[in-house]
């Protein structure tokens, strides 16, 4: 496989070249954060650490038009109106630069929801069909990383079109897909020294350490479902701010709202968060998830119980989590989903054993 070399000082020019053919989202430093921005002239993409947000906005923009509507008054009878609808324009092909392997895997988990659950979502499908991931492989896991718990790895190729490996003074670039081949066709082949450096890096890939066995999680979670003391303890610090869901590569819940100006407007979908009390609040005032404990339980349950149970029909154990660690890194009160998961396994095991005393060893 051809390895190419993209010097660090050529990243901006290469991004500009891509931007001629694609809507490019590239990471830039803003204060202490690294955020994706649409390509702009003289932009300097920053690939030095994982972006603060996930790459899901390439596939599920934070706000997106579903359709537009317009009312028209009947001139002969002003009490009557007609309404006209128009479909949203198909999205532009998007290239996202700088996501990490955990983000690229997230796309494949979003597919489960938007493509494989039954009803196809044509807007998502259009984003997905044209989106390209130019991913940066990870050199050293951060202390919040746990991609190896959920089947990923720092150099995992899943979901990427091009993988960039940091080397001295730049990146060794390797195309993963035919679309990726086209993207890197203009980048010169890597000199022998870079090839050797890459080979050496791959030979001693970062060792992420042992991963716990999560296979009992779906059952243990259900065993603990009704234990509100457990969930009150776990959520005691939670502020319901929702940052964990907004930054998550796999959280995909959305709201639908109308935005009107005069007689016309648009119906939008916007990222939503199950951490919010309003999320499930019904018109009657009834709320099936009235407390933070209920809501945090839903997020953990969705990722580690409901998703694996729903997609067990595919014959695999898959969690709706890529272990990117953003929810841990950005939580203002240091809620750590790894700790919750391990506690569920431990406490859920005890709870299940108490419920079925005859099964005790």
């Amino acid at each position: 496989m051809v390895v190419r070399f993209l010097p660090a000082d050529a990243v901006a020019d290469q991004t500009a070249a891509w931007a001629r053919d694609y809507h490019v989202l590239a990471p830039v430093r803003e204060g202490s954060a690294v955020v994706y921005r649409a390509y702009a002239k003289d932009m300097h993409p920053f690939l030095g650490r994982p972006p603060s947000s996930s790459a899901k906005e390439a596939l599920l923009p934070q706000t997106e038009n579903l359709f537009t509507y317009a009312y028209r008054k009947d001139r002969s009878d002003l009490t009557r109106t007609e309404v006209f609808l128009s479909e949203a324009l198909p999205p532009e092909p998007t290239l996202i630069l700088g996501p990490r392997p955990c983000d690229a895997r997230g796309a494949h988990l979003l597919d489960r929801v938007f493509k494989e659950r039954g009803v196809a979502d044509p807007q998502y499908a259009a984003h997905r069909a044209s989106a390209l991931f130019v991913t940066v492989a990870c050199e050293e896991p951060e202390n919040t990383c746990f991609c190896h718990w959920t089947g990923g790895g720092p150099m995992d190729e899943t979901g990427s079109d091009v993988l960039l490996f940091p080397v001295t003074d730049g990146f060794a670039a390797r195309a993963i897909t035919p679309a990726g081949e086209k993207l890197v066709a203009g980048i010169p082949e890597a000199p022998a020294a870079v090839q050797q450096e890459l080979a050496a890096k791959l030979a001693r890939a970062p060792e992420p350490g042992p991963a716990p066995d999560l296979s009992s999680l779906p059952e243990r979670f259900l065993a603990l479902f009704g234990d509100m003391d457990f969930w009150m303890d776990q959520s005691a610090r939670c502020l319901s701010c929702g940052v964990c869901t907004y930054l998550c590569p796999t959280c995909s819940c959305f709201n639908i709202t109308d935005e009107t100006s005069g007689l016309a407007g648009r119906r939008l979908r916007t990222w939503d968060t199950c951490m919010s009390a309003l999320y499930t609040l019904e018109g009657s005032g009834h709320n099936p998830r009235p407390s933070r404990a209920h809501r945090l339980r839903n997020r953990v349950g969705h990722k580690f119980c409901y998703h694996p149970r729903e997609f067990a029909k595919l014959g695999l154990l898959e969690f709706s989590c890529t272990g990117c660690g953003r929810c841990i890194k950005s939580c203002p009160v240091s809620v750590d989903i790894r700790r919750i998961v391990l506690d569920v396994i431990e406490a859920g095991g005890k709870s299940a054993a108490n419920a079925n005393p005859e099964e005790k060893p």
């Binding site: 949203a88 479902f225 995909s252 959305f254 407007g265 119906r267 499930t280 009657s284 099936p288 998703h307």
Partner: protein, 276 residues
Amino acid sequence: MTHSPYIPELATIVETFDETPDIKTFRVVLQDPARMAAFRFEPGQVGQLSVFGTGESTFVINSPPTRMDHLQFTVMRVGELTHRLHTLKAGDPVGLRAPLGNCFPYQDMKGRDIVFIGGGVGMAPLRTLLLFMLDNRADYGKITLIYGARTPEHLCYKEELKEWAERGDLRVELTVDNPDKGWTQRVGVVPAVLTELGTSAENAVAVTCGPPIMIRFTLQALEKLGFKDEQIVTTLERRMKCGVGICGRCNIGEKFVCVDGPVFTQAQLRQMPQEF
């Protein structure tokens, strides 16, 4: 792109009725006559009614598929969308995404006695199935309706309740918490009426919809009468957005009320994480 599941069909309100001080019924037809003629649904399925500029909300289609000159929705005024809906009148345009969700297991109910137990606006989904059964009367055994509301004026479908009581092929028991001067029927809560009637569970199915507190005590009463979980059918309320199982909002465990429901048997509900 293929057609988006989020784009409603255009419909027109043809008639509105005040049911109670805060409940209104809307009859709508799709603007495209060919689409209206081809429209098919099953009793218990729901639709998303849109008022463009305000949003959309989920309501059961409470007219039966045996009466297709319009689609009927009954709406309690509780939030932003329902307030706006209540201002609309005949001739006004709305959007409709329907049918959505599953339906009552009316095939499995054939040959059995049916007990409808409703409270307040929870009568709406029961109306669909009740009218469907009356239009296929020979397929079903004894039919009983127990329906209650806060006061006589809070009962929905008052004219129809009278007609049903006079038909002779179903039993109608109405009850209110607070009677007025003219009220000649029962006073008390719905579960108490159910217990008093001593309805037999043998070869019967109970179909219930109403406020959570009524459901809770109705389930207890049904259990005492010998109804098994498989014999109790209910239809759930949840806040919904997409209506097609994608947006994530209405999940109970890995089930989505908008596609796996809204109709569930009590036996199915017991298998789900208890988050109601």
